[in-house]
């Protein structure tokens, strides 16, 4: 573990050093939203304004669209896409890194998923602790914290005129080594960082006691609650696409001329088409079943398999829902009514 300090005055050289060593992904403002994108040389784009990315950094390791293999139509030869580059993600929020840890288990479970794992193994994550939690944050209800290091390689804390950086993994130490010239050794900033994190924890206003939810979800399968909480749902994919732990995908063949590729892309259990059989039968025929599945997957099915809730409390699904379907509202009703 190494502890370093980055003076904000040295920000540009730090970013440049990271970008020289690896492909650097950075939260960039795109229209009104933030999303992670490859660093374009615009070093002025600091993290001062950035609160959180609307599109979570899962998009770096599980891109919305990913080529699995290529071929020529009519041919039998299959070729693999180019090897992935070593990457570093700078400025991921701790909850988003914890989410990667949750997704990792799915892609390592039973058979390995080579695309995800190659990406994930080649990606280092520098997290930025949250000094000011956001309106719908509830990470502390899910064993998280504004300064959680789970899934991170380096934790970075904003101390005003400087950042405190602590490596959490060997990979993290190597990353800090790459940018050594821009960094100074820490001297006591660690405790200052701890205080900031503790203070931030106290500012989180939303919460849920997850005790017993798994069992209630099982028992209350047919409860009228599901009709009520799904009624306003528009059936769009905002909650799932923007969720850092949602990882479901579709696989499609896409052909232009004779150039074919098989690719996968994010899919959403909130879409009717997701489970639609070719016969026209749909085992989850309405938004009621789909909403129940979304909640049950996170708080029951995943838990049964991996002994952990597949939600990190980032609040994106709440904030991004156009009709204010609020997972905390649903969960507290599950607790009270089922």
């Amino acid at each position: 573990m190494s502890e370093k300090v980055l003076q904000k005055a040295n920000w540009s050289s730090f970013v440049q050093a990271l970008a020289d060593a690896r492909e650097l992904w950075f939260p960039v403002k795109d229209g009104p939203i933030y999303k992670f994108a490859p660093y374009s040389g615009d070093v002025d784009a600091g993290l001062e304004e950035y609160a959180y990315s609307s599109v979570p950094p899962k998009a770096v390791v599980l891109p919305q669209t990913e080529t699995m293999f290529l071929y020529q139509v009519g041919d039998k030869e299959i070729s693999l896409p180019e090897e992935k580059k070593e990457k570093v993600v700078l400025g991921a929020r701790p909850c988003d890194a914890r989410a990667m840890d949750i997704v990792d288990r799915v892609f390592q479970w039973d058979e390995d998923d080579p695309y995800y794992l190659e990406n994930r193994n080649k990606t280092a994550v520098i997290g930025l602790a949250c000094n000011e939690p956001f309106v719908n944050c509830f990470c502390t209800s899910l064993d998280g914290s504004p300064g959680s290091t789970q899934g991170l390689d380096v934790l970075m804390v904003d101390l005003g005129d400087k950042y405190y950086l602590r490596s959490v993994t060997d990979k993290g130490s190597r990353i800090l080594g790459d940018a050594e010239s821009a960094l100074e050794d820490a001297s006591g900033e660690g405790s200052q960082a701890e205080e900031i994190i503790k203070e931030a924890e106290g500012k989180i206003k939303r919460s849920i006691d997850t005790e017993g939810i798994r069992e209630k979800l099982e028992e209350g399968w047919e409860a009228p609650l599901w009709d009520e909480v799904s009624r306003a749902c528009l059936g769009c994919g905002a909650c799932t696409f923007l969720c850092p732990t949602c990882h479901c995908f579709d696989i499609q063949d896409e052909v232009e001329g004779f150039d074919g590729r098989r690719c996968r892309m994010w899919d959403s259990c909130m879409f009717g088409e997701y489970t639609l059989h070719t016969s026209g039968h749909n085992p989850r025929p309405s938004r009621k079943e789909r909403t129940r599945n979304r909640i049950s997957h996170k708080y029951r099915y995943y838990v049964e398999k991996f002994d952990k809730i597949a939600c990190v409390g980032c609040g994106r699904c709440i904030t991004s829902c156009p009709v204010n379907i609020d997972i905390l509202d649903i969960l507290s009703r599950v607790k009270e009514e089922l």
């Binding site: 699995m68 293999f69 071929y71 139509v73 009519g74 041919d75 039998k76 299959i78 693999l80 799915v106 892609f107 479970w109 039973d110 058979e111 390995d112 998923d113 080579p114 695309y115 399968w221 047919e222 990882h247 479901c248 995908f249 579709d250 696989i251 499609q252 063949d253 052909v255 074919g260 098989r262 996968r264 899919d267 259990c269 997701y274 489970t275 639609l276 059989h277 070719t278 016969s279 039968h281 085992p283 989850r284 025929p285 079943e289 599945n293 049950s296 997957h297 029951r300 099915y301 049964e304 398999k305």
Partner: protein
């Protein structure tokens, strides 16, 4: 054999023979395919009940149950109903063409566990496809089993799959009985007329040391299950298979779950006692 390094990369398999089981808009065509790569051909292992992702490059893949038993030889058989984009493309394939195959996926019928028992299969329509490998497997290992009874029906004679094979089964000594039915009376049909669940009651099999496996349209399964209970079968003696839309086949892509069960990994073969606990399984 699943591709160890990348389970999404399919193997090429050459279509050796094809024939139509049924005709019409939703025709069922059977393909007998052999892996083009010798190594894959030799190392491929599957058991009755398992599925494979088969497809055509440029179109896509579908999860189809393997309708041949490993006891039949180093080939695979798939019986495919023409339904959507992929199955339409598969139906275009003729002997000499290639399809993509990856797998095998899912669990299998516990035929080892069932040794010494009487085996009863109850199928309807295309539902005979996953049952056929049981029949073939048990026939090949008939000394390990006490008895084999096949019940199979379809709407009309035109909708019956594996017609000749099933007719031949009736003549076959190791199968103690094979009962066929169609829903509506037809000229020249000498077997049962009526629904499969009714035929099951006619046959009246004893639940004693018997395993019943049923596969077919949901409505048929519903009444077969009811009738099996009437005949005295315990839930644990009854097996069925589920199908849901699938993309990856390896428990990653999400969509095939029925409640907490992933059909691609926990299934497609399920014991009724397990399924009864999962309301979404019968959705």
């Amino acid at each position: 054999m699943s591709n160890k390094e990348n389970p999404y990369i399919p193997h090429m398999a050459k279509v050796e023979d094809t024939w139509y089981e049924t005709h019409g808009e939703r025709a069922i065509k059977t393909f007998r395919v052999v892996f083009e790569d010798e190594e894959v051909k030799e190392s491929w292992e599957h058991l009755p009940g398992q599925c494979a992702m088969i497809g055509v490059l440029g179109v896509g893949e579908s999860m189809i149950s393997i309708s041949s038993s490993p006891t039949e030889g180093k080939f695979l058989r798939f019986s495919v109903m023409r339904m959507g984009k992929v199955t339409q493309a598969l139906h275009q394939l003729e002997p000499g063409d290639s399809m993509t195959v990856r797998g095998p996926y899912g669990n299998n019928f516990p035929l080892e566990e069932w040794k010494g028992k009487k085996i009863l299969t109850i199928g309807g329509g295309i539902g005979q496809a996953p049952l056929r490998p049981i029949v073939e497997y048990v026939r090949a290992n008939i000394n390990d089993y006490q008895d084999l009874t096949v019940i199979y029906g379809a709407r009309t004679t035109n909708d019956l799959c594996f017609k000749q094979e099933l007719e031949d089964l009736r003549e076959c000594q190791e199968v103690s009985s094979c009962h066929l039915s169609i829903d509506i009376e037809e000229e020249g049909w000498s077997h049962f007329v009526g629904f499969v669940p009714t035929l099951l009651m006619e046959v009246n099999p004893s639940p004693e040391n018997t395993i019943a496996i049923t596969c077919g349209p949901p409505i048929m399964i519903k009444f077969v299950l009811e009738n099996l209970k009437k005949l005295g079968f315990e839930d644990e003696q009854i097996y069925t298979t589920l199908e849901n839309r699938m993309k990856c086949g390896i428990g990653k892509c999400g969509r095939c779950n029925a409640g907490p069960l992933y059909v691609c990994k926990d299934g497609p073969v399920f014991n009724y006692a397990t399924l009864k606990q999962v309301p979404e399984a019968f959705a």
